[in-house]
């Protein structure tokens, strides 16, 4: 939760997360370098570093992209999402090392300025197979830079979550460019069937995870219709204690929570990174986002003091054991008295 900005709001979980990340990166690079030197004594240090850092960045990018849909399919994996931005920034620096090494090795020390050489050395822009793959890599790196540079909550708050989220969805554009960078570069150059298989497998797994997560969400998202101004959500018994049922009305998701014999409804969208609040839980009396733990009071959609986040709230009612919600959003932070779950009674809030 944010109050004042600092470089990193460290806590024990983040330290564990980053330690695992560092161990993984060091393990990958060490293995790549050691095996490379032992197996190919004639390989140059530049080539080994170039390929080691490049492939490490690509592997990490795949892991980063897997985490989102995997956590939607298996919420138990949500801790992997918690500090994913550090993984993203690490991946950017791995890619940056790869790019700088390539620029120095292939373009420095010649008769043109290296960046000019990057743009002009291969002029086959009209050919798919001869296309200068370096530019695809440079484009991907530029997008990754944009994302790494704006990864802090400062930018998230100032750009607003929807803009920030749209910006960070560009990672998929970068991903396509980087896959093409590898296919039209390294893989076009020489026979590497296992690497080809790994890359195809990596892309396939990503598509599968997104496809499955999207399909499951689409099934859940069957549009509900309002009757007499109220939308049926679920039977009271179908909603677990301190958990929510999500209902989709006119394209907007509403999270309806059951807790302490009461029902409250609010927007499903966390103000922080647009996380799905309806997949969260009420902890210490507050709706808690499953992504980063941002909290909102169920009766007014406001974060507890001293935090200032607010989300839209909705009226809810319980009639004959059935929960309904009024799909008209109230301004963010509007207090709404919770609907009481009274046996057989009609309670409106």
């Amino acid at each position: 939760m944010s109050l004042a900005y600092q470089a990193v709001g460290w806590n024990r979980q983040k330290k564990i997360y980053d330690a695992c990340l560092a161990i993984g990166v060091v393990l990958y690079l060490t293995l790549f370098m050691v095996v490379g030197v032992l197996w190919f004594p004639h390989i140059t240090a530049e080539t080994l570093l170039l390929r080691g850092f490049g492939s490490a960045a690509l592997v990490l990018l795949h892991f980063i992209l897997y985490i989102g849909p995997a956590a939607r399919l298996f919420p138990v994996l949500l801790p992997l999402l918690y500090n994913r931005r550090h993984m993203g920034v690490t991946m950017f620096f791995l890619a940056l090392v790869h790019a700088v090494l390539a620029l120095l090795q292939f373009h420095l020390g010649g008769d043109q300025f290296p960046l000019v050489s990057l743009l002009t050395s291969n002029g086959d822009y009209d050919s798919f197979f001869q296309f200068p793959f370096q530019l695809l890599g440079a484009f991907g790196l530029a997008v990754l830079f944009l994302m790494a540079a704006t990864s802090h909550d400062f930018w998230l708050a100032n750009l607003t979550a929807p803009v920030w989220k749209a910006l960070h969805m560009l990672v998929y554009v970068a991903y396509v460019a980087l896959i093409l960078h590898v296919v039209l570069g390294y893989l076009q150059n020489h026979q590497a069937p296992v690497t080809q298989f790994l890359l195809v497998g990596g892309v396939w797994l990503l598509l599968m995870l997104h496809g499955l997560a999207g399909w499951r969400e689409w099934r859940k998202d069957r549009e509900a219709r309002a009757e007499d101004g109220w939308v049926y959500v679920a039977d009271v018994a179908e909603i677990r204690e301190n958990r929510a049922r999500i209902v989709c009305v006119a394209g907007e998701r509403i999270a309806v929570f059951k807790y302490d014999g009461k029902v409250s409804a609010m927007s499903n969208v966390c103000q922080h990174q647009n996380g799905p609040l309806g997949e969260g839980k009420i902890v210490d009396g507050c709706v808690t986002c499953p992504w980063h733990g941002y909290q909102y009071r169920p009766h007014d959609g406001s974060s507890p003091a001293p935090f200032t986040e607010k989300i839209p709230t909705f009226k809810a009612k319980v009639t004959a054991g059935k929960v309904y919600v009024d799909p008209t959003p109230l301004p963010p932070g509007t207090p709404v008295a919770p609907a009481l779950i009274g046996e057989g009674a009609e309670v409106t809030a």
Binding site: G9, N11, R12, Q13, C20, G24, L27, Y28, L29, L31, F32, V35, G36, W39, F40, H42, I43, T44, E46, T47, R51, S55, V59, F63, V76, L77, L78, P79, L80, Y82, N83, Q105, F106, H107, G109, G110, D111, Q112, S117, S121, N122, Q130, P132, G185, Y186, Q188, N189, H190, Q191, A192, P193, V194, T195, L198, R240, N242, V283, T288, H292, G293
Partner: protein, 253 residues
């Protein structure tokens, strides 16, 4: 107090719930194992690494006769070869540091016997010397006459590479991933070479020149690192093959 069995992870709390923590730990270990396997399998496929070497930082002394045209070379007498036998000289290509040819450094010594300092670059049976700097060459005497031997018109297919990287400065120093660098090198004066592969994979090297034995560096830039077919006159100078052809007649395959 009633125990809550509905586990939920909150990152800023000191500890993850037991079941979630166990599953995530197992997943992290699996991901690390997967990364290690990927690293191993990927690095094992660096099959484009040639047996070539650049003695970076190691300077040796050489003695021989400078031949400036078509590209700077040092003609070194082969030990044990007596006059009258074929190819009594080996030719070492001469280049400047970085991505530049050695024409300017070598020009004052054309046809003269010299002693020079530089770093060796070698692959297969071809050798190149990267000169140590502007004062790397010292004249020590008279040279010997240079001559070419023609083998008539031939057609060869292969890849145009920059000889410096291909012979060992970069490894791999060929094909598309190296194209940009090869263009820079050849544009800077590094001798362009047509590498022709035999059926058994053996590489044959042909220095590319025009019909007048002039350099073709700027004319071949658009065809570097691509399959190309060249018809021209095959000439031998000591132990180097030279292909004399008009770059305008090169065919991209």
């Amino acid at each position: 107090m009633k125990q809550d069995h509905d586990e939920f992870y909150v990152g800023y709390l000191p500890k993850a719930p037991a079941r979630i923590g166990a599953i995530v730990r197992l997943t992290v270990l699996l991901l690390m194992g997967l990364a290690a396997v990927v690293a191993f399998l990927t690095v094992r496929e660096q099959r484009d690494i040639a047996t070539a070497l650049f003695e970076f930082g190691v300077q040796r002394e050489f003695e021989g006769v400078i031949a400036l045209k078509p590209y700077p070379m040092l003609r070194v007498q082969r030990p044990g070869v007596v006059s009258g036998e074929s190819a009594p000289f080996s030719r070492y290509l001469l280049v400047a540091p970085f991505k530049f040819g050695a024409d300017e450094l070598v020009a004052p010594f054309d046809g003269r016997r010299v002693r020079l300092k530089g770093s060796l670059i070698y692959r297969d049976n071809k050798t190149m010397i990267e000169l140590a700097g502007a004062d790397a060459i010292t004249e020590i005497g008279e040279g010997v006459a240079d001559a070419s031997l023609s083998f008539g018109e031939v057609t060869m297919s292969g890849e145009i590479v920059d000889s410096k990287c291909f012979l060992g400065v970069m490894n791999p120093g060929e094909l598309k991933t190296h194209r940009a660098c090869a263009v820079r090198c050849i544009s800077g004066g590094i001798p362009p070479v047509l590498v022709v592969r035999g059926r058994d994979g053996t590489a044959y090297y042909l220095l590319l020149v025009d019909r007048q034995m002039g350099q073709v560096n700027q004319a071949v830039l658009s065809m570097v690192a691509q399959p190309v077919k060249i018809t021209g006159e095959l000439v031998r100078r000591d132990d180097w093959w030279v292909l004399k052809a008009d770059p305008g007649q090169y065919e991209l395959l």
